[in-house]
């Protein structure tokens, strides 16, 4: 096995082009588990931790661009006001030791349906920036995932960054698991309300072959919310929103929970995150 250690972004892209089989490694919290348990034997590891371009963040017009190598720890410490939903999701990832190393780029790279960053990125309408020696493209995160642990990323590409609107609306995230730390989600849900555009964003985790959106639920809620008056959200609207989110999931029965339980729990999470987000917007309870 080779160990490739590019010192900057151009070198990293060149190394990936020359060794498309090389396994990129950032925080290593997915890659090393597989290596330690002999589940994978890549021909080479491509260490991205020396590429400082990946750990930058800043604004890019009306977007916020966050390098793929920014850790959950830094998202929480430095970006909680700018990516509120993702910061909430980051707080639920693993443990302090894991959050000190693990990155959003690694979460996207693994593309697990249970990845906690994904629902928040979906709800926020994020773009994923992919790059290779051939060029750079920005893919809506809604089109990024194509199957369990599969994405549109080609073998010569690396994930450079993700981008979200620089002025976020109100965002919430909730996750069901057996304890407060160190759990893979049984299911999770992220909600974004944008009072400017009166748009609703949603993201469902761990309840389908890929992270999903609840498009119908979002459209329903956007039309029914009392945006103008900020009055209480009618109980029937809350209930219907929950139902539609549950219906948008495509869960299976597995060791972590049954499909029925997941649909039920998602309806509960949808109602709860709606109540929190509406209060955050100054809406009546």
């Amino acid at each position: 096995m080779e160990f490739l250690r590019p010192s900057d972004w151009d070198e990293a892209l060149a190394a990936k082009a020359a060794h498309p089989d090389a396994m990129p490694i950032a925080g290593g919290t997915d890659v090393m588990v597989d290596l330690n348990f002999d589940r994978s034997r890549p021909t080479a590891l491509l260490d991205l931790t020396r590429v400082t371009a990946l750990t930058d963040w800043g604004t890019d017009g009306d977007l916020l661009r966050v390098g793929a190598g920014v850790t959950y720890r830094r998202l929480i410490d430095e970006l909680a006001g700018r990516v509120p939903g993702l910061a909430l999701a980051s707080r639920t990832v693993g443990s302090p030791q894991i959050r000190n190393r693990a990155t959003v780029g690694g979460n996207l790279g693994s593309a697990s349906p249970a990845g906690d960053a994904h629902p928040a990125l979906l709800a926020a309408g994020a773009l994923v920036e992919l790059a290779s020696t051939r060029g750079t493209r920005r893919v809506p995160v809604t089109e990024f995932f194509v199957g369990p642990k599969r994405s549109v990323k080609t073998p010569d590409e690396l994930i450079a960054a993700f981008l979200v609107p620089a002025r976020p609306g109100v965002e919430q995230f909730a996750k069901v698991g057996t304890r407060n730390a160190m759990v893979i989600a049984v299911c999770s849900f992220a909600l974004a309300l944008d009072p400017q555009t009166r748009a609703v964003g949603t993201g469902i985790g761990s309840a389908g072959p890929t992270p999903l959106r609840a498009t119908e639920a979002a459209e329903f809620l956007a039309a029914e919310l009392p945006w103008e008056t900020r009055g209480a959200v009618p109980a029937a609207v809350r209930a219907r929103f929950g139902e539609l989110v549950g219906a948008a999931a495509r869960p299976i029965d597995d060791v972590r929970g049954s499909a029925d339980y997941r649909r039920h729990a998602l309806a509960v999470l949808a109602r709860r995150t709606l109540a929190w987000a509406w209060t955050d917007l100054g809406g009546a309870a």
Binding site: I25, G28, M32, V33, N36, D47, P96, Q97, I98, A181
Partner: protein
Amino acid sequence: MRVTCVVNGETRQADDVWPGESLLYVLRERLGLPGAKNACEQGECGSCTVYLDGLPVCACLVAAGQADGRTITTVEGLAPGTGEEQLDRVQRAFLATGAVQCGFCTPGLIVAVHDLLARDPAPTDPDIREALAGNLCRCTGYEKIMEAVRLAATS
């Protein structure tokens, strides 16, 4: 592959390192530092916790080559010398409260607590639990561990 890093203040070098092996393996098997423990090799238990460039991480999840040129502090590096009176206050507090049973989780907990108290000199109980969420004690001595942290914070 050769890996060179500063461990507990000294420049150390390991040769013939397999690129897929972990920093934990390098520390324990190549550099003779058995303080950090190997229990799960999957980031779940925290018994391998060490400082990497000042941040506590699971050494089992750091590829050896990623540690090249970096600075590492293990539980062995927290005490300025040998002998009980030389121990760090966190180590002394674990001894004083009997927060050690089999001791397997202890080195990782000590590093995690050391980091907590460096960031927050007077943590509340929920803060302590949150900071130690990544460290499992198979002997389940959590109450004594909580006592040790409270004692270390006030000593």
